[in-house]
Amino acid sequence: MAAHATVIEAPKGFVRKYIFSTDHKVIGIQYLFLAMFSVLVGMTLSVFMRLRLAWPAEKWPALQQLFPEGFAGGPMTPEFYLSMMTMHGTIMVFFVLTTAPLSAFGNYFLPIQIGARDMAFPVLNMLSFWVTLAALLVMMAALFATGGAPIAGWTAYAPLSAIGEVAGPGLGLGQTLWVISIAIFCVASLLTSLNFLATTINLRARGMSLMRMPLTVWAWFTTAILALLAFPVLLAGGILLLLDRVGGTSFFIPGGLVVSDQLIPHQGGSPLLWQHLFWFFGHPEVYIAILPGMGITSHILSTFARKPVFAYKAMVGAIFAIGFISYVVWGHHMFMSGMSPFSSMAFSITTLAVGVPSAIKTFNWLATLWGGKIRFTTPMLFALGFVSLFVTGGITGLLLAQPAIDIFLHDTYFVVAHFHLIMGVAAIFGIFAGIYYWFPKMFGRMMREGPGKVHFWLTLVGVYAIFMPMHFLGIAGAPRRYAELTEFQYLKPLESLQLFITVAAFLTIAGQFIFLFNFFVSLFRGKRAGVNPWESTSLEWIIPSPPPHDNFGETEPVVHHGPYEYSPPGEPKDYIMQTEPARQTA
């Protein structure tokens, strides 16, 4: 019986170590920086939007210098506004909210938390990252494409997205690049998710039974299932859309369409077909963005409340229920598409049903906190913020899920408020919580708590100040995706609200620089982190910070405990590591 010494040699040389690395930890950090770059771009684009909405007629000579076409004649053109909106949504949804929670944290911590040395397919993992980067580069090209960036929104509704330049600037080359980038992104996400699934199924350490996996792992696992089955559908739609644009086909373009006084030479296609394909992907996608945040929140709440997660099994069940139901609700984005009232009813019921597992999760979080010895660290604050935002954003979902109400609120700022609170900001809070919590493990140094807390309060108050008023705008009937709302007489009384939102947005954005500063200063100057600074129980906290190339070195971890054994009765310490040997019961 030949015993191979299978210690994985650490690669030598800068390029193999940090650039073309197959180490899941390096890849995780690469994804994290990709997402941080993307979020900065996305944020900048939102500044343009808010400028236009708060001061519709204002001229910006400096910006005109930079973007002569976007500011032709002085004020920002509506087309430029729409392209900013489209690119903001696209970059945020795909390159931030899909990439950071799943690919960045999942890559870094899923293998460690289950006691594996790396992903099941390390080379494929490296490829996934580079393919994602390629998608990002193509998307950046779309941003700067001649003719302008696309203006069809992140949902790229046909026929607007399908008929090309006649429908507006940016719908030529820009939109084509957009579709190509999204198709590439789909492929990358598929590779990532299959790797996550194979890793979780096959590479768990001895004793790491399913019911001993941290809820973070369960969340990434479920998210990966969603991604594996949802992204191919978007890919299919993308292929057909691309062919409608460049191949002369009519999958999504109806006959007799006249745009800009030109008859579009297509016939027989169905714009609704695109909507179905898109939302069949789109709704699971919103859960792809939020589920990892739920896992991180459960993990952190338990750690800093020094209590086991309340009803662990119900939490696992709820994650799966949410994942499953998310496949049968897509029609709630299409109540206004002329679907039959019976279908509306069906989609309404399935959508409202999501509220049940969501409520289970929320109440379990509260029960986890109940009576705990809570430590208000920065990651804990962000996890609490996540719960708050999840509730605020989720409740409006229940309103929108009822066709009679949605007919009024659809495509208004009310929807914008709903999805920003729950998808945008809650998921971002999950990301922040993850960064503050795992920074010591990833980089071997602590982030500063003081600036962290200031960052938290500024951001929490800021995002509520931005998005709460949007509910009122929506109820008052302000439509979304308009560069300018001054023409609506009935919205005149609410104009100051737009100004308020813009100011709040700028202050919140300014607050993010505290985070960036804290992040980069701590990277080099932070206090050295020990092995387990938070006194957590999961496997990443038994190895050095940062972990060595093969995570567990010469040894293999053996798991004896569930992930959340905090404050066990009759113990000297208030936590039991997952790898601590089970005590012999006499």
């Binding site: 594996a116 590479l203 350490a205 002369g248 027989g268 053996v558 004896h560 601590e580």
Partner: protein
């Protein structure tokens, strides 16, 4: 802080006797729990990939059905006869790839390489045949944008063809790795310690799974596209 660790045993990673564990560590004897039997990593990965690919074609099928039901502009076209030949070629290649896979399991690598080469040749012939089918159609005046039926034919056969081309690369890789005496990449967990032969056998096993799937998928597409005409 007391933590237990077990010494690494090489036994588990040892594939020299053709065992069926692809770097999969069995849970079970440390703490309690863990699945007693886990699927082999390379097969599991391929099955997951196929699930994704299946979703792609399910989505395209749903688009096909919806678009067909929509309107008066659906003019069905006749099937080019050459597709039957192509199908026969693809079926034959499924047979040869199976031979290669079995030969590798039986540790007769030389024989396996011959079967693999034959599979490659058949695969290339299939793709050539598909191109020929496209040319017959365009000679008949049926292009990508002629009618929804022709559009879907080009899309479905094209997307399938791209996947087949990918499969050809995957099948060519072990041949190249033998000829160039390259050790073959450590492409999945636990494969680093395995001899090159075992790694190649597993690679081909996964590739063969993929290839059979492409075969079945093509027959499904033929039925979808032409069963009623």
């Amino acid at each position: 802080m007391a933590t237990t660790v077990a010494p690494r045993s090489g036994k588990r990673e040892d594939g020299a006797n053709g065992s069926r564990n692809g770097g999969d560590r069995r849970g079970g004897n440390g703490g309690s729990g863990g699945l007693p039997q886990r699927p082999q990593t390379h097969r599991l990965g391929m099955l997951l990939a196929l699930a994704g690919i299946a979703m792609l074609f399910i989505a395209l099928t749903s688009a096909y059905v919806v678009r067909q039901g929509l309107g008066g502009d659906w003019t069905p076209m006749a099937m080019p006869r050459i597709l039957l030949w192509n199908t026969a070629i693809l079926l034959a290649s499924s047979f040869t790839v199976e031979k290669a896979r079995r030969a590798l399991l039986a540790r007769t690598e030389g024989e396996a390489l011959r079967w693999l080469l034959l599979t490659l040749a058949l695969g290339v012939a299939f793709l050539g045949g598909q191109l020929a089918a496209w040319r017959t159609l365009s000679a008949r005046g049926l292009f990508l944008d002629t009618s929804p039926h022709s559009s879907f034919f080009y899309v479905l056969s094209g997307v399938h063809g791209v996947h087949v081309a990918g499969g050809l690369l995957a099948l060519a890789f072990p041949i190249w790795s033998v000829w160039s005496a390259a050790p073959g990449v450590a492409s999945f967990a636990g494969s680093a310690g395995l001899p090159a032969q075992v790694r190649r056998a597993r690679w081909v096993e996964a590739a063969a799974l993929y290839w059979h799937f492409m075969d079945g998928l093509w027959i499904y597409l033929l039925v979808l596209l032409f069963a009623r005409s």
